[in-house]
């Protein structure tokens, strides 16, 4: 279908489409505003490292980073855990019951966040969970469960029935079937969901903004928001921040990559 050159060419073009803007962002983070607008593609004249310095000495970047890391890791961890439990239950529940649970979570994906925001705020306030990392984590879990269940249950459905039935026949408990049979086989979809949730939560602006005021519990995206003004956005400093904030997500991708790429089902049906 596509010649080797055609394939390489296509990959190269798309790679360029990403590398060029990335280069602009990297270069701009070392320029002044004026310099950036003059010629975005040029290499910076003198390296304006104070863009990066601004981030670190005026903001409590370390604190924001730590908060983002805490919130993201716990939210993703718990959400994945609960989602796998629910997906397994959907798999096991007979007939309409499983479908109902699946539908209940899947429909959550279609709800726009803006409108839920107002009642949610009142609820979190009443529970005394504003200005706390815990509140953010609980909300994040609830909000990402629809996507997580949708993807994980969607892939779990394709696992061969015989495996689970074999387990049940051997007298294994639900927990053991979940833990030893289904979970390992679902690793690719779990890893895929993990990277989705990681990015979603790490970059999330809405819930931290809504639910926190105290600078002690603010997350990274909030720190970067300060560089966006009413009429003027300080792009050089913003990009410095964005690049730093992107690093953990790319790192997470690189780490998780081998899991959604390794073929775990190969050979599982034999015998």
């Amino acid at each position: 279908m596509l010649t080797r050159l055609g394939r390489r060419g296509l990959l190269a073009i798309y790679a360029l489409l990403i590398l060029v803007p990335l280069a602009v962002m990297v270069f701009s983070s070392f320029k002044t505003s004026g310099e950036m607008y003059q010629n975005p593609l040029a290499l910076p004249g003198a390296l304006q490292t104070e863009n990066y310095a601004t981030l670190f000495d005026e903001q409590s970047m370390g604190r924001y980073f730590l908060n983002s890391a805490t919130v993201t890791l716990f939210s993703v961890g718990c959400s994945l855990f609960f989602a796998t439990l629910i997906s397994f239950a959907i798999l096991r529940l007979p007939g309409w019951k499983g479908l109902l649970v699946y539908g209940l979570f899947a429909v959550g994906m279609t709800v726009p966040a803006q409108v839920n925001m107002i009642p949610l705020y009142a609820l979190v306030l009443d529970l005394g969970l504003t200005n706390s990392l815990l509140g953010l984590i609980l909300v994040n879990i609830a909000v990402t469960l629809p996507v997580a269940v949708f993807i994980i249950a969607g892939f779990m459905k394709t696992l061969p029935r015989e495996l689970i039935e074999a387990g049940a026949m051997d007298g294994a408990s639900e927990w053991v079937m979940y833990r030893r049979i289904v979970l390992p086989l679902s690793l690719p979809s779990i890893a895929a969901t993990a990277i989705f949730l990681f990015v979603m939560i790490w970059n999330d602006l809405l819930y931290p903004l809504l639910l926190t005021n105290n600078p002690d519990v603010k997350t990274l995206p909030l720190a970067l928001l300060e560089f966006q003004g009413e009429y003027m956005t300080n792009y050089p400093v913003l990009f410095a921040g964005v690049l730093i904030a992107s690093a953990p997500m790319i790192l997470a991708y690189i780490l998780l990559q081998r899991h959604f790429v390794s073929g775990m089902t190969a050979g599982a049906i034999k015998g």
């Binding site: 607008y37 718990c78 994945l80 009142a122 005394g128 990392l133 833990r179 005021n213 009413e230 003027m232």
Partner: protein, 416 residues
């Protein structure tokens, strides 16, 4: 999978850890008996200056801590407004004049500031936007001129002066164009229509309540005052006085274009002077307004807005401290620091401007300027219909047709 066992135990441990983190930060009285107030606004560009002022305030008021929350206007309209309702955020907050002010007042979220001493620090005729039913609910701090900024040196180069009538304005544009300079840089994709419409409209509809009439159904967009304005937009566009494809140009690009000397006028407002100078410190800037009628019929010289209205949340638990902070910001010396460091005019009396562009444009306080008409439109839908009709005309639609389309949208809104 070890990973999951690991995660579950971690989560359980963390949950207990977080419960402690969770509970400690929610009270507004810190451990050492200080009161913490939250200052909520949208001016990211001013954060550094505010931080400086806050440090000074905290030094003068050892028992009060000010926590600043800044969010750009998109988030401010949604998230900040949601948080105001219960008084936990925004002990001191800011409001736009017009629809936002009216809605917040209707929800009784403004504390009454009428009898506060600091109200007298302000120019009385510049704080009307924060008044309702004879009471002062908010105090606008910023004084902005929503009319084009122009490059003084480019004008001098071609012996041009700010024109006094429509023919004069067209001639200025023609001269610039003939010399290879784009006359007007217009960010049609975002703020352009909403800003430039004001000076284009002010003399075509000299009566200040035309939009109130529109929203009451007594005036129509298809009437002469608006169709004339639209056709003048079209004229500027057809003659090539607005940069090509302006509807695809956003604010940043328009400012860059202007700052690089490729355009002589920037059709936004005085707030753009700071951004332009940040990109090109050599610029000499002034303000002008297109006079869309003959010199004899001219009533208004320009457009001003008093905005960034400081207010105290009526549900706040710390109104005394909040008022102290506003009192601090209203002091002449502090307002002066704010004005000069952020390059904006303020509404506080007796302020001495030291930055060049502020000094050059101070003469505008003496001219006959009108309060920004766009802010007098109460409904977001109507405002959008109005600015969209400008975009419509700039993409080639005939003025009468664009006005009719917009009027239809207005009537849909009025039906409710």
């Amino acid at each position: 999978m070890n990973r999951f066992v690991h995660k579950t135990t971690l989560s359980a441990l963390a949950a207990s850890l977080l419960l402690t983190v969770g509970c400690s930060s929610s009270s507004e009285t810190t451990a050492d008996g200080k009161v913490k107030i939250n200052f909520l606004h949208w001016r990211g560009e001013d954060s550094d200056v505010f931080k400086e002022l806050i440090a000074k305030f905290e030094a003068e008021n050892q028992t009060i801590d000010v926590e600043m929350s800044v969010m750009p206007s998109e988030q401010y309209q949604s998230t900040a407004q949601t948080k105001l309702a219960d008084g936990q955020s925004g002990d001191v907050f800011t409001s736009f004049p017009g629809a936002q002010f009216e809605t917040i007042a209707k929800a009784n979220l403004f504390a009454d500031l009428t009898n506060e001493s600091f109200v007298t620090n302000y120019e009385p005729n510049l704080i009307k936007a924060g008044q309702k039913d004879g009471k002062q609910f908010a105090l606008p701090l910023q004084l902005v001129y929503n009319q084009p900024v122009y490059n003084v040196e480019l004008f001098n180069k071609y012996n041009l002066t700010p024109p006094t009538d429509w023919e004069g304005f067209l001639k200025v544009c023609e001269t610039l164009k003939a010399n290879g300079i784009t006359p007007i840089a217009f960010p049609g994709a975002d703020v352009g229509p909403g800003q430039f419409m004001n000076s284009m409209l002010m003399n075509n509809a000299p009566n200040e309540d035309v939009f109130t009439k529109l929203e009451a159904g007594d005036a129509k967009l298809t009437d002469a005052w608006w169709t004339k304005t639209l056709s003048q937009f079209k004229e500027l566009n057809d003659k090539g006085y607005i940069q090509k494809d302006s509807l695809g140009t956003k604010q940043d690009a328009a400012v860059a274009y202007f700052a690089q000397g490729k355009a002589a006028m920037l059709a936004t407002g005085s707030y753009a002077m700071a951004s332009a100078k940040k990109q090109n410190a050599e610029l000499k800037l002034g303000l002008l307004a297109p006079i869309t009628v003959s010199a004899a019929d001219k009533k208004w010289d320009g457009i001003h807005t008093t905005t960034f209205m400081l207010a105290v949340n009526s549900k706040s638990q710390h109104q005394t401290e909040a008022k102290k902070f506003i009192d601090f910001l209203s002091r002449k010396d502090n307002a002066e620091v704010y004005a000069n460091k952020t390059s904006q005019h303020v509404t506080v009396k007796g302020v001495n401007y030291t930055s060049p562009e502020l000094k050059d444009t101070i003469s505008w306080t003496q001219k006959n300027t009108r309060f920004q008409p766009r802010f007098l439109i109460q409904s977001g839908d109507v405002q959008k219909a109005v600015t969209s009709s400008i975009q419509d005309v700039l993409s080639g639609t005939a003025p009468e047709e664009a006005a009719a389309k917009a009027q239809k949208l207005v009537e849909q809104k009025l039906k409710k």
